[in-house]
Symmetry: C2
Subunit: 387 residues, 2 copies
DNA sequence: ACACTTCCTTCCTACGGCGAACGAATTAAA
DNA sequence: TTTAATTCGTTCGCCGTAGGAAGGAAGTGT
């Protein structure tokens, strides 16, 4: 566990093919939750004889729990096996400007423990101390760590990236990985949200989607063919820089589009329309205002037009099929979403659904879970027969 | 070969793992071209004992050719094995408005035979007759067929898609696949070009790229993480529909952007600037004119600005790292490409290279070769250890 | 000519997958 | 209640493949 980086033997198979079967059983069980060995034979294609010892191992390791016999029409009843989500834990670490928040979740995305730590010393140290503490005696079940950082991760513009060390995702990830001995993924928070909605939210049923996140800036997360795509330098989804608005002027690190149409920019206009304190959700406030104030309605329509041009641009480039509105954009009401859908449909060659994201704050967590679980299974894509 | 769709046995391995080793040896040999068994042990991780019979088989099947002994510093000289590109043939079929052109190529992309057939009867029939004829006695080595069709393939807008039957890629592909018994891929010509440049052209050294093809319309091909990405409905890269130009008006099947900045549109302006016949290459003509005529120089700059906005849009969404100019855009001279590069760099958060595609007409062919070869290896992604 | 090095092959063993037979646990029928 | 029928799960044993070890092959250097 400490040294041997490259096991000099085991080139292709034998040990490997065993692992493949293990993983195929685990992932099947994770999906179905409660099943019998007989169902496993059908779903994985493995023979019963192969499954018997394998399932025995998995029960011993806590992945599966033997439940009572299930219903049977005729013949011996199936002995049901339940997947134990607690057998695999995942840590999701979110880097925020002055603190880090850390959550331990099981493979369902259910939070087992969480804590926020003020950022004092070295980030890597803090993470490597907090995660084991928080995991407690579940530490051996830890399968991966996902670290969410704001801004562009590897290279690219340094946008919203707080202070030192965070810009380079690699060093942090590698250090933590060495210290904790489990796979670590570092990514943009928006990318994690996209992964989360894809794994457990409004994108579960599709392989391609675009998540548009409107906050202080505007960013997009991209899922194509079932995977988050980051582009060559990790700057995919930097849609705030789109040259859609001749009037928009970007400045260091802020793109021309997001300078005019981000949540901040909208908040300023909303305050001008309805003087007072800046509302918590400028978009929701604007939608409410628009019902009575024609000027607000006009401005809302401007916003929707701007966002629709943004969406149309993305759709023309990658054809995601579905666009999820996240952050401030998720505060739109049904009528406004419909309006946006209409604007997009009119301008785009391919049919595209526009809807709200559903996970909200928990999207990052679910994304982290899905990253960490797939990192554990990395390198072993399915060789199974289609059922 | 005719019936058995799902082999009821063979769930995961045994037969499979043997095939994996075969393919790993073949693909290694394809890259290295001339190597010994000893090098194969290093590169594939397979033991010499495993390789001996495997290599024997491959020699018998014609994949490898035994050459004389290689140089040796000390000890027994290595018996060199040469990869035989002719062992795997590929057919590339290009559907054009009134004819189909068909090429047989080896796995280097070297054309072994080609022919153009006027389209008379059924397309599928024509293909299924032409390919075996053209392949001749090389037919058993045929590993795949790639069919390039203009326009959007599965669903999406029907753009440039000639007449009947072509719109739906699936039926044609499946029919041909059934008839010829080899994997068939049907795709957009621009996607194939992108795959070609990625496999054998200006994108060999990168995993992500965007190919911008300017012709009658404007389309882009997208390679992300080493694969062509088509989006949910196959309409990825329909960048002619980008809402970048308030003055652009699209009409049925033509996007607003390409309506103003495609090769056709440019040709009209060039004819206006220099009355006469429409030049073969309007862009090259424009570049030449711009050297002397200030109005032409101004218009060229407009075109470059427009294209740069297009590129910037794509880059913001997917961050390809490299953009290849194809079709009419490849007719720009060095100065114009530099200018374009400058415009892009100024507007984009991530560093992006802009350069010309290098394969020209042969891009589609190379793309077809790469598709067909990877279709043959499909479902068996690398499980090999990193070297 | 001899040792030495490197490459390739053959022999042999160990291990895992899966077919087949068998025991187990229930329902339906006699 | 006994018997048959049915479906599940397990144990046994054959087979095939992988890869270690040892040995032959074909060179180089002294």
């Amino acid at each position: 566990m400490t040294d041997v980086v490259t096991p000099p033997t085991s080139p292709v198979s034998r040990e490997r093919s065993k692992e493949i079967k293990r993983l195929s059983v685990i992932s099947t069980a994770r999906q179905v939750r409660l099943l019998s060995r007989a169902e496993l034979t059908e779903l994985t294609g493995l023979s019963p004889a192969t499954l018997t010892p394998l399932v025995r191992d998995l029960i011993a390791e806590g992945y599966l729990i033997e439940r009572g016999p299930g219903a049977s029409r005729a013949g011996r009843p199936r002995a049901m096996l339940e997947f134990n989500p607690r057998a695999e834990l995942v840590a999701a670490v979110s880097l925020e400007p002055s603190r880090i928040s850390c959550e331990i979740a099981d493979s369902d995305g259910a939070v087992v423990a969480h804590r926020a730590v003020r950022l004092t010393g070295d980030i890597v140290d803090t993470i490597c101390r907090s995660v084991p503490e928080l995991a407690g005696d579940g530490l051996p079940a830890l399968r991966g760590v996902a670290i969410a950082a704001p801004g562009v991760i590897s290279g690219g513009a340094v946008r919203l990236a707080p202070s030192v060390g965070l810009i380079e995702g690699r060093p942090i990830g590698e250090s933590v990985q060495r210290a904790l001995g489990v796979p670590v993924v570092v990514d943009n928070d928006v990318n994690l949200m996209a992964a989360g909605e894809h794994a457990a939210g409004a994108g579960m049923d599709v392989a391609d989607l675009l998540l548009l996140h409107v906050a202080d800036g505007i960013g997009a997360g991209l899922v194509l063919d079932g995977q988050v795509r980051r582009g060559a330098r990790g700057a995919a989804g930097e849609v705030g820089f789109l040259p859609l608005d001749p009037a928009g002027r970007g400045h260091d690190g802020i793109g021309p589009f997001e300078a005019r149409w981000s949540e901040n920019a909208i908040a300023e206009r909303v305050v001008a329309l309805a003087p007072g304190r800046r509302p918590d959700s400028p978009v929701r406030a604007l939608v409410a205002l628009a019902a009575t104030d024609p000027r607000a309605a006009g401005y809302l329509d401007e916003v929707l037009h701007a966002w629709s041009r943004l969406i149309v641009s993305c759709v023309c480039v990658i054809d995601p099929g579905r666009v999820l509105l996240s952050g401030a954009a998720a505060d739109l009401d049904d009528a406004a979403v419909d309006r946006l859908q209409g604007l997009v449909t009119a301008a785009v060659p391919s049919t595209t659904e526009v809807r709200r994201a559903v996970l909200g704050d928990r999207a990052v967590l679910h994304g982290a879970v899905s990253y960490a679980l797939s990192a554990a299974a990395a390198g072993l894509p399915t060789l199974l027969p289609a059922p």
